[in-house]
Amino acid sequence: MRAVSQPKLKLAIGLGATCSGCDMAIVDLAEKLTDVFKAVDVVFWPTASDQKLEELERLPDGSVDVCFYHGSIANEENKEIAELLRKKAKTMIAFGACACHGGIPGLANLTTTKELFATVYKETPSTENPDFKQPSIDTTVSGYSLHLPEKFDTVQCLHSCVNVDYFLPGCPPEVPLVEKAIEAITTGKLPEKGATLAPNRILCDECPRERQEKKISKIFRIHQTIPDQEKCFLDQGIICSGPSTRMGCGAKCIAANMPCRGCMGPTSKALDQGAKMIASLGSILGLEGEESMSEDQVKQLVDQIKDPLGTFYMFTLPSSILKRRNMTQK
């Protein structure tokens, strides 16, 4: 632990488009690691205590040692806040799946604000909106204009908006990782910038299940079978993103007998988690008897995978190579 004499580390916890699960994770952390938190001085954490934005604005640039930023950038306000925090913080850490990779809300990149409004404010069965009123950026009510921040068509992860020094993935990041990170920060033992503060191996490394050399002939969906708790999911024909996903989460989902969906994102050597899943699954699926397989049989085989995008990019669409669905297609 660090010497008490040192000045406390100034920590800011900022947020954009987030489910606040990351906040909760930090609360847990505070519960579990009171002594770690003794070493830091939370100068800014809107979720947990009252602070005025002015206080943050008044702080000299770079006066905050570290900022944990969670959530993605989904509207103009998120962007402003991210930029402000970047100015104030010496070290900017993308905290959690949304900030690192876009997270599940990043799946909104499959659509546009326009489509989304149509669904939410019109098509949903409980909505009663015959003349399709929809939220607008500026509305005048009883003579006053109310402003709504504009929602971006494309959800961005933090590093596509501001310069990020470190990445702390997970949905939400697991306590041991955050603990290590804070440890590294307080002791000034951070790796070189741009690093991800989690092991660079894949989940299988910490997965206790027994594995075979991979070959799959039939895909099972989780509700269709009762997985053997001792055996690798893929060996049982259940899609698991573990092989394309960074370890460090403690394989808790696996322990709960549920396959990995990739919230930690890919390793530093894999550019695009989804593409990698396609390459690996495409290789091991139908490996047996591949020589005698007809084109049609191959098609049927891969048709067992109903939602490749949703399954393989569940957490990383905004940080993937194509980032979003192309909407110009006729």
């Binding site: 989904a74 909104a108 939220p135």
Partner: protein
């Protein structure tokens, strides 16, 4: 100074989710109008289309990291319905067991960290004080460690049952993924006992700090914090309050049962109204109709959440909670319209959740390994509802024969309460802001009206949350900004 002002409270702190409040003052500086805005939207309803329906329990937890459990379970129940499967009793009980732990966790955090400070530390205290630290200072550090321990235990139980506490993964169509071992149950039982004591203590703390503190109790009963609306909540077969399953019951402002129905029939009873100035919709009772943000019998506005559950239920199935429930309605006339009484009902629910958790963990069935029913029917459509800490939560899915989601509809607690919150804000503001006089205490007391609902805008907007920073903008009659106070 006789200028027209707009006070923009943006954003409100110590709330989950993202929103703004605008208070419009008239020439005399009194409150003319008040608007409560939810400023973000993620559109799960849209991008969940095309997903595998069995993944929905995992996807929809990300609507909210504060209350992922209710989404996880409502979603799982919806997928049960989509696949027309009835999970084994054990699975249902395991789901409810974890849910109880989550309720304790969520309610405790709200009482001690988010809502409580207003009473315990006092609405006038400085912002730096008005937080969990301040609370612990007031109630004593040893209490602090008890609270932290309780949160830790609840968290551990959630993790044991759900795989993870934040964003659990265990519930799937037809049951749960993992059974509970004997040793799990023993541990849970031990921790459960502590949680029960903790809940009793919390109820006492509430009584001491709120009921027996005149200033606070007056505040609680003050008319500016009262709202006469319909209420909706879940009741079991015996009409008792239930958090995991049951019928939805609606009572009118006088307390008479207005409707009782299966969640799957919600469309016959609930509709949503859209306003252009907020991303959040306004649900209302279809059979009363939308008449704007007004109180009373002729307005379709209804409220959900702890107070609503207490108002609609005929009682609570566990002894201690039942006693506290009776005591509450001995003090307040039923149905209770005092918005701040949400806090009271909330702490009593903590007690219920602890009692129920102990009941369940001692039920031999939760150790059964029969926790899955494999679906055989062709998936079509299904509704799943639970009582979230903040009120009724409804998930509704349609799929194609492959189980690919075609349509999603979500109505979450804070959305049900949206109209209520708006009206509470206006009422409180009208009661508090006179002749343009606005200070931090006043603003905070306005926020208190909102905080009572413990609104989770993360949920409400399913929709990007982040908590609600507070911004106060005072404009002159030319709508020029002359003063700004903003919290983030």
């Amino acid at each position: 100074m006789q200028e027209t002002k707009v006070i923009k409270i943006d954003p409100i702190t110590r709330l989950e989710g993202h929103g703004k409040i605008h208070i419009l003052l008239n020439k005399s500086g009194n409150v003319d109008e008040a608007y409560f805005q939810v400023v973000e939207l993620r559109g799960f309803e849209k991008f969940c289309q095309g997903r595998l329906v069995e993944e929905m329990p995992n996807i929809t937890t990300r609507i909210c990291g504060v209350c992922p459990w209710n989404h996880h379970l409502a979603s799982a129940k919806a997928t049960d319905a989509v696949y027309k499967v009835d999970p084994p009793e054990a699975a249902k009980k395991i789901r409810e067991l974890g849910y109880c732990a989550f309720f304790i966790h969520d309610h405790a955090i709200h009482f001690y960290a988010l809502g409580g400070p207003d009473f315990i530390v006092g609405p006038g205290a400085s912002p730096q004080e008005r937080n969990i630290a301040g609370v612990l200072k007031k109630v004593g550090a040893e209490v602090g460690s008890t609270v932290l321990r309780a949160l830790k235990y609840a968290h551990e139980i959630e993790e044991m049952v759900g795989g993870r506490a934040i964003h659990p993964v265990f519930a799937i169509p037809g049951g749960v993924s993992k059974p509970l071992s004997d040793s799990d149950c023993t541990k849970i039982h031990e921790m459960g006992k502590f949680l029960l004591d903790f809940s009793k203590f919390t109820v006492n703390t509430f009584e001491k700090t709120v009921l027996q503190t005149k200033r606070n109790f007056d505040l609680l009963k003050d008319d500016m914090y009262r709202l006469k609306t319909f209420y909706m909540g879940t009741v079991d077969a015996k009409g008792k309050m239930n958090l995991y399953d049951g019928d939805l019951r609606v009572i009118d402002p006088e307390g008479k049962t207005f409707a009782q129905f299966k969640p799957s029939d919600y469309l016959k009873h609930v509709s949503e109204h859209v306003e252009p100035w907020t991303y959040l919709k306004f649900p209302f009772l279809k059979n009363v109709g939308w008449n704007g943000l007004v109180e009373g019998r002729n307005s379709g506005v209804y409220r959900v959440g702890p107070l609503a559950r207490f108002n609609v239920a005929d009682g609570i199935s566990t002894p201690l909670a039942q006693a506290a429930y009776e005591q509450m309605f001995a003090t307040l006339k039923r149905p209770a319209h005092e918005t701040l009484a949400y806090h009271w009902a909330r702490v009593i629910e903590t007690l219920y959740a602890s009692e129920r958790l102990l009941e369940l963990v001692q039920d031999p069935e939760v150790k059964s390994s029969k926790i899955r029913t494999i679906p055989t029917a062709t998936p079509e459509e299904g509704v799943g509802a639970v009582e979230a800490p903040r009120g009724t939560l409804i998930h509704h899915y349609k799929t194609d024969p492959d189980g690919i989601v075609q349509g999603v509809n979500l109505i979450v607690a804070t959305t049900h309460n949206h109209a209520g919150i708006c009206m509470s804000v206006k009422k409180a503001a009208q009661g508090l802001i006179k002749r343009g006089k606005v200070d931090d205490e006043i603003l905070n007391m306005v926020e208190m009206a909102v905080r009572a609902y413990d609104p989770c805008l993360a949920c409400a907007t399913h929709t990007l949350p982040g908590q609600m920073p507070l911004e106060v903008n005072i404009y002159n009659s030319e709508k020029k900004l002359i003063k700004r106070m903003r919290r983030l």
